[in-house]
Amino acid sequence: MAHDLPAECDVAIIGAGPAGLAAAAELRACGAGRVIVLDREPEAGGIPRHCNHPPYGLREYHRLMRGPVYAARLVQDAWASGAQIFPGATVTALHAGPRLTVSTASGVQEILAQRVLIATGVRESTRAERLIGGTKPGGVLSTGALQGLVHLKGMQPFQRPVLLGSELVAFSALLTCRKAGVRPVAMVEPGPRATARWPAALLPRMLGVPLHLNTDLVAILGEDRVREVVLRGPDGTERSLAADGVIVSGRFVPEATLLRMGHLEVDPGSGGPVVDQFGRCSDPAYFAAGNLLRPVETAGWSWCEGQRAGRAITASLRGALPPPGGGLRVVAEGAALKYVLPQRLVARGCGAGAGDLLQLRVTQPVKGRLVVTRDGAELWSGQIDTRPERRLTVPIAALPVGETGTLTVRIEERTR
């Protein structure tokens, strides 16, 4: 493993998860020179390191893998390509140049690069962000923290927690609990249906965990340990439920503070950077890929984005990308749409690396017509029947890429 960080490199990648590692390997395969991957964790691999269950690797390696095996394979592939991976290296600031401030155990240094790819991923939102009331006892964990304790450290933080949320990650938490001999007393979902698709939604019943829909977790109570939680059911009545822990799962947010503290433009809708179809940020020497772009996609999806970013950066280094400014702005209209990205579409470049889909998410369950317009003229439409946290896309090929103006994406809801 490499120890001394270089002062200069061709491409610096921030984040050694699926997107960052895929980009590193692709960049090297395309002939890039010195490619370094910086990760603040003690080990490279990203979130899959502590997701000790399948399904990983189908798209990338055509077989079913557990998270840690998959993460190890990504790291191995990146090393084999000739990229250098530096765990324990925290990027603390982004500057024009591009130039990075990096902290390691030996202190602070700066790295100059030709291009930078930011692939810092997502995290779950916290109890504080959700303003859950009560006291602050021990035993309140995100899925990420739970999986770190269980899979990386062999600890069992509680025996009968309440699990908040029903996104895919909540089912990952259920599997982790099963592995650790922990039996959740209830799964609580504020919405009317489980967010994750069948068959994941069958899992609670299989494991004997009651699923409470239309139910809010309003308070967590206890002194040094969680003693009980207060739930508010569909009829508005509150009741307490004995539990010794709470798993606060899902509602992912991009880990984008480096951007918020720096000079790159951030999209309030996605919480990630504003990018064009090449993943290029508002400073065109910076690129972004993976779940930093938006909450939240699968590891395989992020891996594909990383590969594409590797090709786009290669084209950029060869001067083969179209100029970054101008083109089409893409905006989401109406409260039902949470975000759309890329937020800009510039002319097609010679060389690969462009994404071929607009990615969208809704804020509420919605049926109707998804419409893309420019100056009132309809350019594309499609029927949708979707829920929050589900993948929703529009083919970029159907849009007038290379032209200018503003594309508006909105949903015409079907009246019931």
């Binding site: 390691t104 995290r123 916290t126 009331g133 009560g134 602050k136 021990g138 995100s142 923290a145 304790l149």
Partner: protein, 475 residues
Amino acid sequence: MPPRASPLARARASDPALTGGRFDVAVIGAGIVGCALARRLTLDGARVVVLEQAAEVLDGASKGNSGLLHTGFDAPEGSLELDCIKAGHAEYQDIRERLNLPLIRSAALVLAWTEEEAAALPGLMNQAQANGVSDVQPLDRAALLALEPGLAPSVQAGFRVPGEAIIDPWSAAHAYLLQALENGAVLLRGCEVTGGRHDGADWQLDTPRGRVTAGLVINAAGNYGDIVDQRLIGRTDFTLRPRKGQFVVYDKPAAALAGHILLPVPTKTTKGVVVCRTIWGNLLVGPTAEDQDERATATLVPAALEALKARGAAILPGLAQQKVTAIYAGLRPATQFKDYQIRKHEQAYITVGGIRSTGLTAALGIARHVAGLIEAPWQPVKDPAWPRMPMLAEDGPRDWQSANNGGILCHCEKVTRREIEAALTGPLAAQTLAGLKRRTRVTMGRCQGFYCTADLAEVTRGRLVRPMTGQDDGA
């Protein structure tokens, strides 16, 4: 490897209270006031023992405040509180560099949002003058918006108080106590005073750790002050009704929205909701003011937190787009009286009670005032030790910027493994997760432990009184 003894068991094995030593002074309560008292009296030459009922220091009223160093511009004229604030403000500035304690000279703006509030401004400025804070400057709407472009344009008028500042409320208290400990004081945690009597010469205090003998007792028990008075001298001059304050802390990008501490026009009962940066580079909105009977628990209420967010966004519209990092609630020891309740009783007993939100600023002044009440034969310590605290302020210099720091463990707050190790060792070693958080900031950032909980649980395994099971521990 032999099993490691718990920190409490190790402390007990060397418990000086059990070996029959006599102390000159027993300070009951290791909050900000108790810590400052321990420092003052130790430096004055007394042999001091600090008795704290909780497993960790700063675990009562002092765990949740606004982190401000006040000038006393709005304190009641002629009050003991004002004297202590002014003395405390001055001494903090004198000693902070030697203790490596941070200070942001942000100044404060007192803002009027209604005509009624604007009408109250001249009176407040007169009060500031009368209180010896002579540098306040009246500002009209345009001047306010020029100073703070992020303010809502509906602001009417205000004035600037240059001396108001931002400090690190926990490092300050830890520094005072650590200086006492390094100069001979003794700290006993998990040591509630359950009873005691004066035998004509000395106090004999009953604690779960054995009998403690001291010439003088000082009650600095915060939210339990009246109960301790009842237990030891059989009467109390006040009744505590803790005032709960809830706070919302925003992520670091929000700190760019306001340079000044933004204060409202105060009411009779409260200084009101403050919007200000914290020394750690966040932005804080709070506190609420809610009287309650419960002394031990401050419960977070979603509706109150929503109201704080709305209030914050009404003052700084840009706050609506910012992310919440943390929520917390504290209890200030309010009594039926407005002023501090500091009284010397017969039988070598002093009560230091009713120290509310200004206690952080006033603590050093309170300690001087109390020392002045004691006719002591002690000789001041010559060349006392001056501990240097770890610098936790966002603008540093921080440990992550220096060599051999062991690497960053908590990424949001950039806490290094070396800082965590240091906080788990020494005379004031952290015994609870909450204590470790206050000493280092670990897990207190935006991810609230998503990334670092597992690593921290491993580092602290066997070294805290309760194993880590999340990013909070109720302390």
